[in-house]
């Protein structure tokens, strides 16, 4: 299966907002070639963790390591160059641009200017992988929600990331679309030999596609393990039930 080489590691990473600890003393790692799920009830700190590891938010304490190198406090461009590319839950698209040009931006990010042929090839490769080839010249803002989700993944794919971070990619997708997308995740991982970090609310999907799961609660690490382990973890069950019955 996946080797245990650690690509990304957080050590005691924390983010405080005024009086609130959105994320507190979090130790987690992303291993080479794995599909990792990041879950937790609402307000658990998933978005903040996502922003912390992608450089969009600076930690107020703790450290971030990529490939063993301390990259704490780096900005998104720097972290991107190290191979971590993320999508956004809301609006991960450049709406007035065509599908082709959207994906092209990803290729531009990863391939230097003199190689426009290479960029074109990369765009087509990404479109193929995500099943977007029939839509290439459509204006992305006019396309259905499900297709837009795929485009945002394609943009990230086009950078050939080593760690692909997907922020709630299944939101708004119907059952068929969701299953299809999960398959694409596996294909991407196999094709690029990359790791995938998945933040998702869709429990069924997470249990199906993730090999390992990290559970957050109130900004802290609650549990890690395989889907089977997590499903039977009493603390996790309580956290979700507690959240459900919260007033």
């Amino acid at each position: 299966m996946s080797s245990h080489q650690v690509l990304l590691k957080t050590e005691g990473i924390s983010r405080r907002y005024g009086g609130l600890m959105a994320v507190s003393e979090l130790d987690m790692e992303i291993r080479s070639g794995e599909i990792l799920g990041l879950i937790g009830p609402n307000g658990a700190g998933k978005s903040t963790t996502f922003n912390l590891i992608s450089g969009f938010v600076k930690p107020t304490a703790g450290k971030l390591f990529i490939d063993g190198k301390d990259v704490t406090g780096s900005n998104p461009t720097q972290i991107s160059k190290l191979g971590l590319v993320r999508t956004f839950q809301h609006g991960s698209l450049m709406k007035t641009l065509t599908v082709h040009d959207n994906i092209l931006i990803g290729a531009i990010g990863a391939i230097p200017p003199a190689h426009s042929r290479q960029r074109e090839d990369r765009v087509h490769e990404a479109a193929e992988m995500l099943g977007l080839t029939p839509f290439m010249n459509e204006v992305s803002g006019n396309l259905p929600h499900g297709v837009q989700r795929l485009i945002s993944i394609a943009i990230a794919y086009a950078t050939h990331p080593r760690i692909l971070c997907l922020d709630e990619p299944l939101t708004g997708l119907n059952q068929t679309e969701a299953v299809n997308t999960l398959n694409i995740f596996r294909q991407i991982r196999d094709q690029l030999k990359c790791s995938i970090l998945l933040v998702e609310h869709n429990m069924k999907a997470v249990m199906q596609v993730c090999e390992r799961i990290v559970v957050l609660h109130h900004g802290q690490l609650l549990a890690t393990g395989t889907p089977t382990e997590i499903r039977s973890n009493q603390d996790v069950v309580n956290a979700y039930l507690g959240a459900k019955h919260a007033h």
């Binding site: 461009t77 590319v85 956004f88 991960s92 450049m94 641009l97 931006i105 990010g109 990230a156």
Partner: protein, 311 residues
């Protein structure tokens, strides 16, 4: 996509050459000047539109035009270097200051960037009035193209503007141009794929400033006299009028807007306070009634025709 771009470039080049040839034939001084005015206006409006590609309304455009004009004036009348150097310098000095300006100010967006551009234009204008060596309030005089070129100046100006416009068009359609638009639509995503968004925005502004500077240099040589009052935020407002009336969605918009408004304003000038009223109405009506400008109306008409044909 490539084919359409090639076709447009070809059409554009032909248009420039045709207009240039026409200008050779026209001997009437007034009409020649009018054509130069339209060309310069088109270039200024296009450079304003260029920054719109990253989603910012650059009210400092007038400042860069002025820097170009004064740059050319200084090189020619103070340093007494040749015309060609003066003209090239007009673009370079504007670009340099544009780079610095953009580096500092593009950290903010939208209305804040707009107001900064406005303030910057006024600061630069006021600074001109304090510097005696460039004539402070009275400005600079004696900025003439060389004798050999003078009779052909209109043609020269058109060719220079034409080259600049084609260059802007090419950049807009290149990968760099698409990156600009990507930043306009969603700068977070562009950031997330590893592109240095800030520096790309600065690059866009620098290119626009260069174009504005060249326009300023051309302006200095056609007016022969420049003063601080020529480069107030009013100039940016005129450029905005050309852009809005022509339509900001396509590169041809500002060109159409400039030609139309400059042509019509010659009529309005005879009416006291005329061109103010005229440009004011142009902006107000366009913003209220046809926000996409002439280009927008044309697109709607084409959609309508397509609909008719389909039915």
């Amino acid at each position: 996509m490539d084919k359409r771009e090639q076709q447009s470039l070809a059409k554009g080049t032909i248009a420039v050459l045709v207009v240039a040839a026409l200008s050779l034939v026209i001997k009437d001084g007034y009409t020649s000047n009018l054509i130069i005015w339209m060309a310069i206006a088109a270039l200024i409006a296009s450079s304003l539109r260029f920054v719109l590609l990253i989603g910012e309304l650059n009210f400092a455009t007038a400042a860069f035009v002025g820097l170009g004009a004064y740059g050319a004036g200084v090189v020619l009348t103070i340093l007494e270097w040749p015309f060609v150097i003066a003209l090239v310098f007009s673009g370079i000095v504007a670009a340099l200051i544009g780079f610095l300006f953009g580096y500092v100010t593009l950290k903010v967006k939208g209305p804040f960037f707009l107001l900064i551009g406005f303030a910057f234009t006024e600061v630069v204008r006021l600074i001109y009035t304090k510097i005696d060596i460039i004539g402070s309030n009275s400005g600079m005089v004696g900025i003439f193209p060389p004798d050999l070129l003078a009779p052909y100046y209109p043609t020269f100006a058109i060719l220079v503007v034409g080259i600049m416009l084609l260059m802007l068009y090419k950049i807009e359609n290149s990968h760099l141009g698409k990156t600009f638009k990507g930043i306009r639509d969603n700068d977070q995503v562009v950031l997330a794929v590893g592109i240095n968004v800030h520096m790309i925005k600065v690059l866009c502004l620098t290119i626009s400033a260069f174009a504005s500077g060249i326009a300023g240099g051309l302006m200095a040589f056609v007016n022969n006299v420049i003063s601080p009052g020529d480069f107030s935020f009013l100039l940016s407002t005129f450029a905005l009028a050309y852009l809005k009336v022509g339509g900001e969605d396509k590169p041809i918009g500002p060109i159409l807007g400039a030609i139309l408004l400059v042509a019509l304003s010659t009529v309005a000038l005879s009416f006291g306070g005329g061109d103010h009223i005229f440009f004011g109405i142009a902006i107000v009506l366009t913003v209220l009634l046809m926000p996409k400008g002439i280009v927008g109306l044309y697109d709607k008409w084409r959609q309508h025709r397509k609909g008719e044909r389909a039915a």
